[in-house]
């Protein structure tokens, strides 16, 4: 189809529009947006395919809004050799007119005209390609699908020299279907129908093998049963042969056996005769032995008695010595007791002495304590009684002082008599004489008239002067004061007072000393303890005195005995004890010896008794034997028994000789052999019988299982299965070979088939995509990949612009390939994705188009300016 002209009246917003198309190359139709440029080709569709009578919505939509007017569409185009002008009026005054010029021109109106137009279109227009080459606004940027376009297919077929018939695909599908009957789709392995058949054949083969094996087993069993039967028959024959031989040998054996019986009897007789002979001989020997025994026993008795005597004599001194020792031991014991008693008494006496000393000591202490206490008590009483006080004492002392002063003063005034003894003499003044040794002096002041006596020689009187009186008076007053003080003290004179004072001081000292003394005597204890101790000692003393009185010491004690005495006594006692022990040991040893000797005597006595008893027994036995059989008779009997034994032995020898003659051992051995053989045969028969029974049972069971027929059936089945399998495999091989051959040829054909289209795409697109452009087409002639800039990219991954450009290039190639069968390529506001550079290049591509008709509609002024030689139509130009 090649468009020549399209005109519209009252179609949508267009009151009138007419476009004339360049017969070849590009026609650019420009119009402002919404000016109705898309209406052009919508109207062309309606003109071509819709009857004027139609009321379809999209047709009604062509009527201008709000105007009840007819829409008229008219177009002129060529279809192959035909030039067709179609005019249709819709909505009002509806009409169709078709005028065809060319080889068989015609002109028609109405629906008939429409129908004839459709036929013409069907025959000369590739409607699929027409649709494919229509790039509407907003069309998805998919790869162009050309597979359904017959004109392309024809063109490619023509190029590839193929049939181009669509039935080829039907045939191919059948080939594939046949292939898939026997092969899996994915891996081309054997399909179930084949593997099942193979499995069935294998199963059948196994079945046959199993049944054959069973049959063979059965056959083997049958063979074995047969050979067992034969063997049993052979054994029966053998048994029959063996029976008489066994009987014969048993006869011979029986003869031997009888002889052996006789031999046994003879042997028994001989044994008895031997026994009798032996007994008789034994009796004789026994008698002689008895006689010898009596003699021997007699000797033994004598010997035993001698031994007894000797031992009895040996024992006597030993016993005597033992008795002596016993007496000594008794004496020593007495000594020990006595010395111990003495020692005890001495110890008691010593203790008593000690106790008594202690009692005495303690009693002294007791007494001293009592004295101290009494003294103190007396002092206390004195002190309580005396008039002495220390005040009075001091007054006295003061008075005395005064007296002494007065006296001194008197002395000073008084004459001094001095006597110097020429020899020994006594001087007295007053009462008191003063002895003087030769050369000694006596002086005294004379206060008053005084007489001085030289005892035995002379008396001298001295009279006091007057001045002296006064002093004497003073002295007297002093003496009165002293007397008064003494009186106060209850004493007569100052000496008494001094004595009283001493007495008071002693009393006080006694009181003071009392505790010291008591404590010293108690020595840490108490007076009660002391008393108790003293009492205990006295009790002990009483005990000891009593003990001493009760004992009867054998010796006079030097009371109390000293340590030496005690040591001596102890030594004596130890000595006595040691002596006793020594004697006792000796006695023990001696007693052992005595006992041993006694045992020897007892044993000797027992031996003697036994010997006596034995001799008596031997004697009695001999007497008994002799009483039974006299010695002569016994000898005679022994001789007769010897003769009988010899006779019996001769009989045994005779029979043994006979047995040797019969070769008895061999006869018996042969019976054994024959019996063993019969036994062996019998055992084999039994074993075979058992085996045969088992075999029979098994054969019976297996034989009843119908395995023969089953095996034949299985073999037939196997034959069939294998035949089926071979047939299936043959068909499968044929299907595979066919498919492989067809696949290969098809692939080659497709490659050849697609080549022209690919070449055209590459040729046209190089300008846009570069010199190394290549494309890959699939079976539906879709571009699936593009090679450019050294890189293959899947179509889907190309940019929107590249996809759009590639689609247009492909469409251009298709339009070019279709040639005279082609249809216009319509680009309705496309290339919105392309940048100006690419747009320019694409324009150059479109500008090169020679054969195909390209219509580019655009509302963007300048978009297709780059197409050289394009025919430009402005729609608003009318």
């Amino acid at each position: 189809m090649r468009l020549e002209r399209l005109s519209l009246e009252h179609v949508r917003g267009l009151d009138h529009a007419e476009v004339r198309f360049a017969p070849h190359g590009v026609t650019v139709i420009t119009a402002p947006n919404e000016a109705g440029k898309s209406t052009l080709f919508d109207a062309l569709d309606v003109l071509l395919y819709e009857k004027h009578t139609t009321t379809k919505a999209h047709v009604r939509a062509l009527q201008p809004a709000g105007r009840d007017v007819a829409s008229t569409i008219s177009a002129t185009f060529t279809l192959g050799p035909h030039r067709v002008t179609v005019t249709k009026r819709f909505h009002r005054d509806r009409a169709t007119e078709v005028a065809v010029e060319g080889p068989s021109p015609w002109q028609e109106r109405g629906n008939e005209a429409h129908d004839r137009l459709q036929e013409l279109l069907g025959a000369h227009t590739d409607l699929a390609l027409l649709e494919a080459l229509r790039f509407r606004q907003g069309r998805p940027l998919d790869a162009l699908t050309l597979a359904g376009a017959p004109s392309i297919a024809r063109a490619l077929d023509a190029g590839a020299g193929g049939s181009g018939e669509p039935d080829d695909d039907v045939l191919y599908e059948r080939i594939v279907e046949e292939y898939r009957r026997y092969h899996t789709a994915r891996s081309g392995q054997e399909a179930a129908v084949l593997s099942d058949a193979a499995a069935a054949a294998t199963a059948a083969r196994d079945e046959v093998a199993e049944l054959r094996a069973k049959e063979e087993e059965l056959a083997a069993d049958v063979d074995r049963a047969r050979s067992i039967a034969a063997e049993r028959r052979r054994l029966d024959d053998r048994a029959a042969q063996l029976a008489p031989r066994l009987a014969q040998r048993r006869d011979a054996a029986r003869q031997v056996s009888e002889l052996r019986g006789e031999l046994a009897t003879a042997a028994a007789v001989r044994a008895r005769a031997d026994q009798d002979a032996q007994q008789a001989t034994a009796a004789v020997e026994e008698r002689q032995a008895l006689i010898r025994a009596v003699d021997a026993r007699t000797d033994e008795l004598a010997e035993a008695e001698a031994v007894l005597d000797a031992r009895t004599q040996d024992r006597a001194p030993l016993a005597a010595r033992a008795d002596e020792l016993e007496a000594a031991v008794a004496t020593a014991g007495q000594e020990v007791r006595q010395t111990r008693q003495d020692l005890e008494a001495a110890r008691t006496a010593a203790e008593l002495a000690h106790v008594r000393a202690e009692v005495s000591r303690l009693a002294d202490r007791q007494r001293r304590i009592d004295e101290a206490v009494e003294e103190a008590e007396a002092a206390e009483r004195f002190l309580a009684r005396t008039a002495w006080t220390s005040e009075r004492e001091r007054q006295l002392q003061d008075a005395l002082q005064a007296h002494r002063l007065a006296a001194a003063q008197l002395d000073d005034a008084a004459p001094q008599i001095t006597v110097l003894a020429q020899r020994e003499l006594s001087v007295r003044t007053g009462d008191e004489p003063h002895p003087l040794a030769a050369g000694q002096r006596f002086s005294e002041a004379i206060h008053a008239d005084t007489t001085l006596e030289l005892v035995g020689i002379a008396e001298v009187s001295v009279t006091a002067g007057r001045s002296h009186d006064e002093r004497t008076a003073a002295l007297q007053r002093a003496e009165a004061a002293v007397s008064a003080a003494c009186e106060e003290l209850g004493v007569d004179d100052p000496e008494a007072a001094a004595a009283l004072a001493d007495e008071v001081r002693r009393a006080e000292q006694a009181i003071e000393r009392r505790d010291d003394r008591v404590l010293r005597e108690l020595d840490g204890g108490s007076r009660d303890q002391l008393r108790d101790e003293l009492r205990g000692l006295r009790d002990r003393e009483a005990v000891l005195v009593e003990r001493l009185a009760s004992d009867e010491p054998q010796l006079e004690l030097a009371a109390p005995p000293g340590p030496q005495e005690l040591d001596r006594l102890e030594e004596r006692q130890r000595h006595a004890a040691a002596r006793l022990a020594e004697l006792e040991e000796e006695l023990r040893v001696q007693r052992g010896a005595v006992e041993e000797a006694t045992a020897g005597v007892v044993a000797a006595r027992a031996t003697r008794d036994a010997a006596a008893s034995a001799r008596r027994a031997a004697h009695d036995e001999l007497a008994r034997v002799r009483a039974a059989v006299p010695d002569d008779a016994s000898d005679q009997r022994a001789e007769q028994a010897g003769i009988a034994a010899a006779s019996a032995a001769a009989e045994v020898d005779r029979i043994e000789e006979q047995l040797r003659g019969l070769d008895a051992d061999t006869v018996e051995a042969l019976v054994g052999t024959a019996e063993a053989e019969v036994d062996a045969v019998e055992k084999q028969r039994t074993a075979l019988q058992t085996e045969a029974a088992g075999l029979t049972a098994r054969i019976q069971v297996v034989g009843g299982q119908g395995i023969g027929e089953a095996r034949q059936a299985a073999e037939a089945e196997l034959e069939r299965r294998e035949r089926d399998l071979r047939s299936l495999r043959r068909r499968a091989a044929a299907a595979r070979a066919l498919k492989e051959a067809v696949d290969r040829a098809r692939e080659e054909a497709y490659a050849a088939y697609r080549a022209p289209l690919r070449e055209r795409i590459v040729g046209a697109g190089r300008l846009v995509f570069g010199e190394d452009l290549d494309v890959e087409l699939d079976e539906d002639l879709r571009v699936v990949a593009r090679h450019a800039g050294g890189v293959w990219l899947p179509f889907d991954q190309l940019s929107a612009g590249a996809r759009e450009q590639l689609a247009i290039v492909t469409a251009l190639a298709a339009a070019d390939l279709a040639g005279e069968d082609g249809v216009p390529l319509v680009l309705d506001d496309t290339l919105g994705y392309s940048d100006p550079d690419r747009l320019e290049l694409l324009g150059a591509v479109l500008g090169r188009v020679a054969g195909p008709q390209v219509v580019a509609l655009t509302c963007v002024p300048g978009r297709f300016d780059a197409i050289p030689g394009a025919q430009v139509v402005r729609l608003d130009d009318g």
Partner: protein, 375 residues
């Protein structure tokens, strides 16, 4: 006084070329033969039926086969004497000794052993049963020899081949015809009923020794099977009449196929066979066919295989050469890649060997698939 002589029933036989129900019908026909023999025995007033060996196909037939056989034997109008043959020798484990056979055996059914049988006064039957698959002596002659030469009406039932009939082999156990005849002449035996050969055959010129033939055929090689013999022993020389019993037929057809005419002739030949459902046919073909003719041959046989009891054919047309003629190739209205594939296969098919065969098959398949398109 008549008896019915039959043999080689081979009950339980299976044939690999019989598919599915055909085998069942074939087996059933063999059992049905027993009933037909019974009807013949009744019709001819026979006093006994002797089966001269190979009653069963094997010594170990299926229990169902045995039970069905005994059930039919029990309905026979007279005593039946079964002889164990080489297929079913009376050996341990054999059907004769199974408990099932012993328990189910009807009273009128007897298995021949060494004991002479007297079904009626004046007739003695002696059997020479096989006791193993490989007898070492001439069983039949031995039985004859053991019989008194009293001229009694005595029938010996035997089984085995006779050198003069089956060919010149001299295996142990082969029946010595001359000795048989000597015993017949000596008056020990009056008739020898033989089995083993499935084709009905008279062995003795005087008509005293016969193979009865199998009542139903079993193989293509059988000349005259499907028979039984009616033996009239009234006179000193037996009068033997052949009776038709069989319902199935084996056919061996050799046919040349060199073109469409031959194929048509083959179809005619096959269609001429009577009662095809009981026909077992083995085809041997020779000739040369083109692809289309070969396909037509396949189709022709495929159609008849449905109606015949069995239709055996060589699996790979070994004797039929399939050539891929130019006409074949151009007749296939193929263009484009299909044509290319066809031509390549044809080139391979023109050669020899496995690949060539596969290529021929592939071409045949292509032809079939293309023909399905109605071109």
């Amino acid at each position: 006084m008549r008896l019915l002589h039959t043999s080689d029933w081979q009950l339980g036989m299976t044939r690999h070329f019989l598919e599915g129900e055909a085998q069942a019908r074939f087996s059933e026909a063999r059992l049905a033969a027993i009933t037909r023999l019974g009807e013949l025995a009744a019709a001819h007033d026979c006093v006994a039926v002797v089966v001269a060996g190979d009653v069963f196909e094997t010594s170990q037939p299926d229990a169902r086969t045995v039970a069905r056989a005994l059930e039919r034997l029990g309905r026979l109008p007279c005593p039946v004497y079964l002889l164990p043959g080489n297929h079913d020798p009376d050996e341990p484990g054999a059907v004769w000794r199974t408990r099932a056979f012993g328990e189910d055996r009807p009273d009128n059914v007897h298995v021949l052993d060494d004991t002479p049988q007297t079904p009626v006064e004046g007739l003695e039957i002696r059997g020479a049963p096989w006791r193993s698959k490989h007898p070492t002596t001439d069983l039949t002659v031995e039985v004859c020899a053991a019989s008194p030469d009293d001229g009694a009406r005595r029938v010996v039932v035997g089984h085995g081949s006779i050198a003069e009939v089956s060919g010149g082999f001299d295996a142990p156990g082969t029946i010595d015809l001359q000795q048989l005849q000597a015993h017949l002449d000596a008056g020990r035996v009056r008739y020898v009923a033989l089995g083993d050969r499935h084709s009905c055959t008279s062995v003795d010129p005087a008509g005293r020794v016969w193979y009865s033939g199998a009542p139903e055929p079993t193989a293509y090689t059988e000349v005259d099977a499907g028979t039984a013999l009616l033996v009239d022993l009234t006179d000193a020389t037996p009068a033997v009449t052949r009776l038709a019993v069989g319902t199935w037929r084996f056919h061996r057809i050799h046919h040349a196929v060199h073109g469409d005419d031959d194929l048509a002739a083959l179809a005619t030949t096959l269609d001429a066979i009577e009662d095809p459902s009981q026909a077992i046919v083995k085809l041997s073909l020779e000739g040369t066919l083109d692809l289309r003719q070969a396909a037509r041959l396949e189709q022709l046989l495929e159609e008849r295989r449905l109606t015949f009891g069995a239709l055996e054919q060589p699996e790979r047309h070994r004797d039929v050469a399939v050539r891929t003629s130019d006409a074949d190739l151009t007749d296939l209205p193929l263009r484009g890649y299909a044509a290319v594939a066809r031509d390549r296969l044809a080139a391979t098919a023109a050669g020899d060997g496995e690949d060539a065969e596969v290529a021929r098959d592939a071409l045949g398949l292509l032809l079939r698939l293309t023909d399905r398109e109605g071109r």
